[in-house]
Subunit: 215 residues, 2 copies
């Protein structure tokens, strides 16, 4: 059964690959699972039909027959349970990879979201320029800890896994800020992931949506 | 094999049950699994021995023989895979519960963490008083969406599950702010969870640590 995901009809990043549908597209490309995409406008995202799928009015969602999922971590975990190679077979290694999936969205992403909020929602506020250095320093703390753990490993824990999809995509959201490039091994980690053919196919697919919307 | 978790030797909340070890204690009590606790000081949390278990210098961690896990979502998912009743048996219902586990830490908690940061890390800054209403309004958006979905259901999706442990504990962090009480069904949802005997045993266990530390 071909799953259907939702994505922005008009992505705020204009196809830079920073929207969260990118994570799910990438995972589906890694396992070779074709998928359909339903594009939703900002207005549609707040309407009951979409809220029934995604209570917080966000993208992506994942539909497979009667099953409807939200949250990229849960969607990718579901894909990983139905296809080989996204998570280790060894139960302990698999549980550790899931630790990293939760760490990506629960520990590394929150200070990065704070930077986005400071720049956009609070961009015109009187305090924002003065406040930004603190916001960035809190991100640097997390990046420093992650860089220390990654060291010169290729991936977070052994072979490439769903954990790397989640973490790399969270880190890529920092690309425009320049913060990622302060940590050479993290920048190289992201570049290594972006060189994967599955990443590139997913990136091209979301870029094509943005380019069609811009016409 | 009895697992070992880590918890604060001196919890910043003095036993109010808001530290993240509470989630894991609660899940272990729900399934009737005894556990050991290793208390760590703030200094120890930043030392190599703890960072080897928890790359971000936080608590809790979970050790079971050679397996070391971090992130409450991953730890509770691991417990749920080894014990009945924490997640539904039906694969679709299980996947939906995992969506909610990720939503708790990835979507609902980040604006709540922002409030904590505003109050503590930025508590003395000139902009904080003026900025707090915006921070609180962003939390209200999430709570409103969650309240709409929960409606008059007892739990997030069918029977009580690991999803409710994660979500309730994230929401309880708002208790001191008064925001939770603006949403009657969410306040009742948390109260319903807190009335569970497993919650109460977990709460008593973490409170005993705080009381011993205060002596």
């Amino acid at each position: 059964m071909t799953p259907t995901i939702t994505a922005f009809a008009n992505s705020p990043d204009r196809g830079a690959g920073l929207s969260r549908d990118m994570r799910v597209r990438w995972a589906l490309e890694e396992v070779g699972q074709p998928y359909d995409v339903r594009l939703v406008s900002f207005r549609q995202m707040k309407e009951p039909a979409h809220l029934a799928r995604q209570p917080f009015g966000q993208i992506p969602t994942y539909e497979e027959g009667d099953l409807v999922l939200f949250e990229t971590g849960a969607i990718i975990l579901h894909i990983a349970e139905r296809h080989p190679h996204l998570l280790p077979d060894d139960p302990d290694a698999r549980a550790r990879a899931i630790s990293w999936m939760f760490a990506a969205v629960g520990t590394v992403e929150p200070p990065i979201l704070e930077l986005q909020t400071a720049r956009f929602a609070e961009g015109q506020e009187s305090w924002t320029e003065q406040r930004l250095p603190q916001v960035k320093d809190r991100i640097r703390v997390r990046l420093g800890q992650l860089a220390l753990r990654l060291g010169d490993s290729d991936w977070l824990d052994g072979a490439f896994s769903a954990a790397d999809i989640m973490m790399v995509h969270v880190l890529l959201r920092l690309k425009p800020s320049g913060l990622l490039d302060e940590f050479a091994n993290l920048a190289a980690y992201c570049a290594r992931a972006q060189a994967r053919s599955a990443y590139q196919r997913a990136f091209a697919a979301q870029l094509a949506v943005a380019q069609a919307a811009a016409r």
